[in-house]
């Protein structure tokens, strides 16, 4: 069918096509031989350019420390019909909040999660462990040695994240904290002048 020898790009495509999980560039490079991980990234770019030009219905996605082939979003309604039975339910607000804390604070104990959310999280944690979005990451040293939780590779896959670093940076927080320091200075000045912490005084300022 094809007389010429298989090219690295074709082999890469065959591997991505046949894989059931994202393949890291290291693993791909190991199987391709004579190819370094950085070449893999170039080949992936070439493949995606091919697919775009040839209006293929899928593309290579960089996710969870590797690459995988996925359908393009514009075919979601057709493919969704096909895969409807396998779809997992959307995560609840409680699950998403808990998950975002786990993602940023990991490894993190249940007590810390509850202190930040202000509510019990055990039911939510169970769901997240069940859905393999959260894993047990060890135990904290010290009293009671509570379990520590962290996110899984499936977490990255589920949210289409190449790595944990690609989580949205909490820039807002930095702004808030900078703000807080300024506020504290102001407040201190206020305090020195004011007789009491009267909130009516504060309200009047508005």
């Amino acid at each position: 069918m094809n007389d010429s020898a298989a090219t690295p790009k074709q082999i890469l495509e065959a591997l991505l096509f046949a894989a059931e999980e994202p393949l890291s560039s290291r693993r791909l490079a190991g199987m391709l031989e004579e190819v370094t991980p950085s070449v893999i990234a170039d080949l992936v770019r070439e493949l995606n350019a091919d697919y775009l030009r040839e209006t293929r219905a899928f593309q290579v996605q960089e996710v969870a420390g590797g690459y995988r082939l996925v359908t393009r979003a514009e075919f979601a309604s057709w493919v969704g019909e096909l895969r409807a039975s396998g779809a997992s339910p959307r995560l609840s607000q409680a699950a998403l909040e808990t998950l975002s804390i786990v993602a940023y604070k990991q490894p993190v104990t249940r007590a810390e999660l509850e202190s930040i959310r202000g509510v019990a999280v055990e039911g939510v944690l169970k769901t997240l462990v069940d859905r393999e979005l959260v894993r047990i990451a060890g135990r904290e040293e010290g009293m009671g040695r509570p379990l520590l939780y962290g996110t899984t590779d499936h977490f990255l896959e589920y949210f289409g994240l190449p790595s944990l670093d690609s989580l949205p940076r909490p820039d807002e927080l930095e702004i808030l904290f900078a703000d807080r320091e300024r506020q504290e200075e102001l407040q201190l000045e206020d305090e020195l002048a004011a007789p009491a912490f009267g909130e009516h005084v504060a309200a009047d300022e508005e």
Partner: protein
Amino acid sequence: MADEARSGHTVRIESLDFEGPLDLLVYLVQKNEVDIWDIPIALITEQFLGYLQGMTAERLESAGEFLLMAATLLRIKSQMLLPRPQLEDDEEIEDPRRELVLKILEYQQFREIAEELRDRESAGRLVFPRGLQEWDDELERESGPGMPEPEDRVSLGDLLRSFTRLIDEARRDRVHHLEPLAVTIEEKVNFVRERLRRDGQTSFRDLFVAGEPRSHWIVTFVALLEMVREGEVRLRQGETFGEIHVYAAGEGDGVA
């Protein structure tokens, strides 16, 4: 206090659902458009309590968390009303609201990240990886393997749930399954030996430990019979239906 709170701003809030007390606080801060660094604590406390009163029975399971927060708000409110102590030049006094504000901000930040994750979840639901197919060998020989067999992994959750279920079952039929196996004849033989070594003799009745399941008594009895058969112990009964005494062989006299 109740009437005061009711006269406040409870009307629209009570029909809303909140994830927890912090969620409600964030809502109140935003709704009132107050400066987060200068929260009018009396107003917010009043509205917060108003919400608690409107809480429906179904929400009561999380009432504890709301009540704790209410207590915190009331404490801060009372601290705010205290006259401020005289300050030395470089002495700082912390605003009683500060810890609460930091908590609200931290929570708010994670809520924003949760929003981002929600968007990503929605986007993720629009793309699909390759479908995993089962391949029969015959077809593969023709075409080369297409896909590996689905690696149907068992998760840690599966493993833990499986163990939990076993514990639950064991608990339910403890008497039928676990207890008879919890003690062996050998252990009971050792137990009798130990008792005889310590006391020289023992009464038959004392060998049957009160509170032990009946099945253990049977094991003890079988152990004792075994020891009699081996000539290791002797039994003596003073009178018919009287107390039976157990001796190590060579001690006492008369054999049952």
